[in-house]
């Protein structure tokens, strides 16, 4: 019995590890609050585990998880208008499409799938790459970056937004080429 429980728990762990990357990326699209994102992620995973028998094995597991997450996000949004949690259908569609497109790359881990984005980053000019690294790898805020770069925080935000736009275009181009 104990062994059975351990095995069950191990399968749950594999289930979590295999799916956490894509799911969390999807949830983060709707909230910048890391704590809220993690709560929603945990709730989605636990509900999915409990309802695993309802999953149609012919369908996409990650799309099914995103469906559960979407309902949770929508419910949370309905309960109260929280400005940190912005949910709308068009964001959901774009997030779903982008993440699905990245997932078609056929690698076995989420990070490997994100190699499309890595490739796009490597094609950015040096200054843009450094800004991306400083913002996302070193987790420096726009205000901190403004001080070190010598421009206003608003200009840093705009520059980052333009870079993200370039990266989004690059991903679309890349996946467009891949799908022919």
């Amino acid at each position: 019995m104990h062994q059975h429980h351990d095995r069950d728990r191990k399968i749950f762990e594999v289930f979590v590890r295999e799916n956490e990357g894509a799911l969390l990326a999807y949830i983060r699209t709707f909230t910048r609050d890391a704590q809220i994102a993690e709560d929603l992620f945990q709730e989605t995973m636990l509900i999915a585990w409990r309802k695993f028998d309802e999953f149609d094995s012919c369908g996409s597991l990650s799309a099914w998880l995103r469906g559960i997450a979407k309902n949770l996000i929508r419910n949370a949004w309905r309960k109260q208008s929280n400005d940190r949690l912005v949910f709308n259908e068009s964001t959901a569609i774009i997030a779903q499409n982008t993440i699905e497109a990245v997932e078609t790359e056929g690698s076995d881990t989420w990070l490997e799938r994100l190699s499309v984005l890595s490739d796009c980053i490597s094609r950015l000019p040096m200054r843009s790459r450094e800004l991306v690294t400083a913002r996302y790898a070193d987790k420096r805020t726009a205000d901190e970056l403004a001080l070190s770069v010598g421009i206003s925080a608003e200009a840093v935000r705009k520059r980052l937004q333009r870079i993200r736009e370039q990266l989004a275009d690059c991903i679309e181009r890349h996946l467009g080429e891949a799908t022919g």
């Binding site: 585990w49 490597s122 736009e165």
Partner: protein
């Protein structure tokens, strides 16, 4: 006029949505492995027991916002019994699917053959894909006499010959045209620009890897597969690691000849360094050659 403004508003709105998606993907890409691991552990700590209703704990910050309590307590015993039965079926199904006994037997036979004292030559390709760096590829030849004796000779490294040797005690020795160092020493002197490190060297320890494959990996078995450009029918076993271990490969694919039990190809991929670098190691069997022990000595290659 108002239609045009409406279209512009929609475009701006979609742009900001796209921006949010990209922001999220960039955050995911740059996350540290330790952050991911901690998050997984926090969730595993809430592993839902089969019996009854696991309430989801919410963080003190999220609780007052009222959305976190999303699980309903199961009150119906019938539903509980059905849920338990389904979970058990799923568990058994997954367990049987991931651990086919024939794959384990094939590994055992292949490991036995691999340990026989015959020098086999493999063509090796090592590919490294970083986040911001371009992909680098290395070609090499692996001369593997036994678990304890093998040489990896890089044809396209700048230091020529650049050879790596190792033994079972993991006291790896590297030597090239200019220098040689043991593992306990610093990496100074070794041609770092070859993007070759300890992790890649340890992947050459096939026997250890073969020992762990049946126990620590989920195995997917295909008993009639062919390598590209080859008509030979082979066993193909894909192994995905169950629990994250930074020192072990995440994914391994082994191709075994069912007639001779000789490993025809082994593909290993793993994350190295800060988790943002993915290294793939592919060794393809070329031939068996008679080489004496002196070939595996440093002096023979100075």
């Amino acid at each position: 006029m108002s239609e045009k403004r409406g279209a512009n508003d929609k475009q701006i709105h979609e742009r900001s949505d796209r921006d949010a998606v990209m922001d999220s993907l960039l955050v995911s890409l740059h996350e540290q492995p330790s952050e991911r691991e901690e998050r997984v552990q926090r969730l595993l700590a809430k592993y839902p027991q089969r019996r009854g209703s696991t309430r989801i704990g919410t963080t003190p910050m999220a609780r007052p916002q009222g959305y976190a309590t999303l699980f309903r307590q199961r009150t119906s015993r019938v539903r509980l019994v059905f849920a338990l039965a389904t979970m058990m079926l799923v568990t058994c199904g997954v367990y049987l699917a991931v651990a086919p006994p024939s794959a384990q037997a094939a590994f055992a036979r292949a490991a036995t053959v691999l340990n026989q004292p015959v020098t086999r030559v493999f063509d090796v390709d090592i590919t490294t894909q970083g986040v911001v760096q371009e992909m680098r590829e290395l070609s090499a030849t692996l001369y593997r006499q036994s678990t304890e004796r093998f040489l990896l000779n890089f044809e396209n490294a700048r230091v020529n010959p650049c050879i790596v040797a190792g033994n079972t005690q993991r006291n790896w020795i590297r030597f090239g045209g200019r220098t040689w160092l043991s593992d306990e020493e610093s990496n100074e002197g070794f041609p770092n620009y070859t993007w070759f490190d300890l992790v890649a060297v340890r992947q050459l320890h096939f026997s250890k890897l073969f020992d762990e494959l049946p126990t620590d990996y989920d195995l997917r078995w295909l008993d009639d597969a062919m390598l590209p450009g080859d008509s030979k029918h082979l066993h193909r076993i894909e192994a995905i690691r169950r629990h994250y271990d930074a020192t072990m490969p995440r994914r391994v694919v082994v191709w075994i000849d069912p007639d001779s039990d000789v490993t025809q190809q082994i593909e290993v991929s793993m994350h190295v360094a800060d988790f943002s670098i993915i290294r793939t190691f592919v060794a393809r069997f070329r031939e068996e050659v008679p080489l004496d022990e002196s070939f595996f000595q440093l002096e023979s290659h100075r």
